[in-house]
Structure formats: C-alpha cells, structure tokens
C-alpha cells in the first residue's frame, strides 16, 4: 500500500531523511517512533504530498508521488497535532467544506455519520474555537475519515491532549484499526504505539534504525534501542 525506497529529503544542505526504505502493507497498522528531529514529521509530510522529496521513490496505493499527487491525496486522511480546521467555522461548516473539496457523495449523511462516530453530533453548529482540545482532535479525526480514505496517517495525534482525551482518542483509533485501514502513526507514547501497532519502527537520524512485527517483538530490546537514540 505504501512503498518507500531510498527516500531523501534535504532542506538546503541539511538532510533530514537520508535514504529511508519502508513498506506498509494493506490493512497494516504501523507505529513509527523516534526522538525529536528524527524526521518523523518530514516523512509524514512527504507521504501526504505536503513536501516534495529530494530523492528516492514513493508509491502509495498504486500512485507514484512524482506524477500522481492529486489522485494520491484522495487515498489519504491525515490527523496531525495541528487540527487543520477553521476555528471560526462550525464543525458542520468545516466538514461541508472538506466534503466539497473531496467530492464526497451524500455529504449531509456522511457528515452526520462521522460526527456521531466521534461524539460531536449535537455540537455541530458551534464554532470550532469553542471546543476543547480533545473535541477539536476528535473533529480532526472526523475530517480525516470524511472521504473514507484507505490510508490514514496519524502524526502524533495525542500531542497536547489530557489523559481522558488521549484515552478517548485511543479508543477511536482502535475503531479505526478495526476497519482494517492501512494506518501509519508517529508517536512519542511508546505504550500506545506498541498497543495499537501491528509493527513498530524506530526512525533515528533520518534512517530506519529498528523494525519488528509485534508478534516477534522483543520489548526489552526495542526499549533499549529507542532510549539509546533518545539519549543521544
């Protein structure tokens, strides 16, 4: 579903991604962890077409990033630590705007469905700025799921959430996982990453430093490698 070969991304002379090779199969939930500055967000930005790679090849859902970016964006839903929402608009107005941009059929029904899924039906006419951080993040998930993308990218979705909101988000992510979407999630929360992921990958210094399937995972070794890079 996602195939990345020798991916390089440099900002000027500073290389952030230094030849990343990564494959995510259809229906797989992959957790990507790594210290700050490892290149996790840059990798997500490249996959989501927000940033063009300097070198290497990225193929997603059969589309090559180099010449199929517009079609590829339809296959992706992104939830990041930023909500990507318009604060002055209501939840309904936000979702209606995105429904138009993604050509979502039966938009009214779909908007109601996703708002009910994230527990915001009833507050749909309130401006987003009146929502708590947790509610905004739930709405961000609704926005990402609105066009039913086969691939979901979660870039540190629990940043800034309190424990209750993070637990709710985790529950929502469980539901997302249950629908067998392909999910790529970056997080600093090792416990949640290990709990949700089918496979875990450590990205450090712009390279894949460690990866293992959850079934074969030596948790002790995984933590050792992780803290070795974090402490550097």
């Amino acid at each position: 579903m996602i195939e990345i070969r020798k991916l390089v991304k440099a900002f000027g002379s500073r290389a952030v991604l230094k030849g990343v090779d990564l494959k995510v199969s259809e229906g797989e939930f992959l957790t990507l962890v790594g210290p700050n500055g490892a290149g996790k967000t840059t990798l997500m930005n490249v996959i989501s077409t927000l940033t063009k790679p300097t070198g290497g090849q990225v193929r997603i859902a059969g589309y090559d990033l180099a010449d199929g970016a517009v079609q590829l964006r339809r296959q992706i839903g992104l939830v990041s630590h930023k909500t990507l929402l318009y604060d002055d608009l209501s939840a309904e107005q936000n979702l209606r705007f995105y429904a138009r941009m993604y050509d979502v059929p039966n938009a009214d029904d779909r908007i109601e469905t996703v708002l009910r899924q994230v527990g915001l039906w009833g507050r749909q006419r309130d401006p987003v700025r009146t929502y708590s951080r947790g509610m905004q993040q739930r709405l961000a998930i609704a926005r990402a799921m609105l066009h039913e993308p086969p691939i979901l990218l979660l870039d540190e979705p629990d940043t800034g959430l309190d424990q209750h909101a993070a637990a709710m988000l985790s529950e929502l992510l469980h539901q997302v996982g249950a629908t067998r979407r392909t999910v790529l999630m970056t997080t600093h929360n090792l416990e949640r990453g290990l709990e949700l992921g089918d496979r875990v990958v450590i990205l450090a210094g712009g390279r894949i430093a460690y990866q293992a399937d959850k079934s074969d995972l030596d948790t002790k070794r995984f933590r050792e490698v992780y803290y070795q890079y974090v402490d550097q």
């Binding site: 989501s48 077409t49 927000l50 940033t51 063009k52 517009v70 079609q71 590829l72 964006r73 339809r74 992706i76 992104l78 990041s80 930023k82 909500t83 990507l84 929402l85 318009y86 604060d87 002055d88 608009l89 107005q93 705007f97 995105y98 138009r100 941009m101 993604y102 050509d103 401006p127 926005r143």
Partner: protein
C-alpha cells in the same frame, strides 16, 4: 466543473469565516476611510486641485486597505494550520490560488463599493463618473489581488511576513498603481478614451500576464 466547484468552495469558506468574525472587512473599511479622511483634511482642497489629488488618494486608500486583507488571507490559514488541510485536498494547487485570489478580490471589492460614494462626496466629484470609475477600480484590484495573493502566500512562510509583504508587493504593482491613477484621473477629467488608451492597455496587459504567471507559480510557492 469539479475544478470550478472547488474554487467556489474555497471562496465560500473564506466568506463564511469572514462573516463569522468580520475582522478583516471592518479593519479594511475603517483603514481606507481614515486614509481618505486624513488626506481630505490634510490637503487644502480647493476646487482646482481636488481632481488632481483625488485619484492618488483613492488608490492609496485601496492599496493600503488591500494590503491589510492580503496579509491576513494566508496568515489566518497558516497560524491555524488549516493551510495544510487545504493543500491535502485532491485539487490542483492552481484552484487554491484562484479561490484565495477571488476571495481577496471580493473583500477588496466590497470595501471599495462602500468607500467610493464617500470618496465622491468628500472630494465634491460628480456621481456621473461612478460607472467608469467602477470599471477602472475593477481592473486595478484584479491586478492588485492577483499578484498580492501570490506574494501573500510567499510571505506567509517567513518570520517578518507582515513587513515583507508590502516590501515585496509594492514594487511589483507599481504599473497597476500608475495605470489605475492615470485612468482614474482621465475619468474624473472627462478626457477622451484615446488619450488614456495606453494606460488602459498597460493595466489589462499587466492583469493578464501576472494572473497567468501567479497561476503557474503558486504550486512552487506553496512548497516549503
């Protein structure tokens, strides 16, 4: 049709957000009104120099008010992170440019519609000039918002974006300002069209060339 629907969706979203807060329109209107009032009181406007100064005053007011709107246009998207949401949608980047540009054009146009009658009254001008004046203003603000939207998108990635936008934009829109002022003066003086045709051609040519350039360059500008 899908392309046009998406451009419309972006314009409608900007209008809906502005109608909720009215932050941008009110500040643009108050600022342009203040410019016209200050110039009106600051100059000793006798009958013979009113028509000489009026075109310049009008375009200073439009340019400064327009600058306020243009600088807010992408800053609001960037600060709230919604620009990334917009860039993630499956639409050609040129549609995003066109949507944002038409939104800016609409906001500047609304402010001009309100201040134009006030300008005519304060400068003792004849209302018969209004239709021609509207035509000149439309051509001028198309060029201004066309280039301004592109430069606003460029400046938003920088730290000193509020300062950088006028520094980048004003030198480039000098032809628009010159041609618009000359055409406005021509309308107010009632000179034949043939006498200002060169300025008209310059303004139309600038609008077409820079709209096409902005349309093509927007994708590169949005690359961080």
């Amino acid at each position: 049709m899908s392309y046009i629907r998406k451009v419309y969706a972006i314009v409608a979203k900007d209008v809906a957000a502005e109608l909720r807060t009215r932050e941008m329109l009110s500040s643009m209107f108050v600022f342009s009104l203040l410019v016209i009032l200050v110039f009106n009181f600051a100059f000793d406007l006798r009958a013979e120099n009113q028509k000489t100064l009026a075109p310049g005053v009008l375009w200073v007011a439009i340019a400064f008010a327009g600058m306020l709107g243009l600088s807010r246009s992408f800053i609001m998207e960037k600060d709230r992170g919604s620009i990334e949401g917009l860039l993630l949608t499956p639409v050609d980047r040129s549609a995003i440019y066109l949507g944002k540009m038409l939104g800016n054009l609409l906001f500047i146009g609304v402010v001009v519609i309100i201040i134009l009658p006030i300008f005519i009254v304060l400068f003792n001008l004849s209302a018969e000039h209004l239709p021609s004046l509207v035509g000149v203003v439309i051509l001028g603000i198309i060029g201004f918002s066309g280039v301004g939207t592109l430069f606003s998108a460029m400046a938003v990635h920088t730290r000193a974006r509020e300062v950088l936008l006028p520094i980048l934009l004003f030198p480039v829109v000098i032809p628009v300002m010159l041609a618009s002022v000359k055409l406005t003066a021509g309308v107010l003086d009632g000179v034949p069209f043939a006498d200002v045709q060169n300025w008209f051609s310059l303004l139309v040519g600038f609008d077409l060339i820079f709209l096409a350039l902005s349309f093509m360059l927007f994708d590169y500008v949005m690359e961080e």
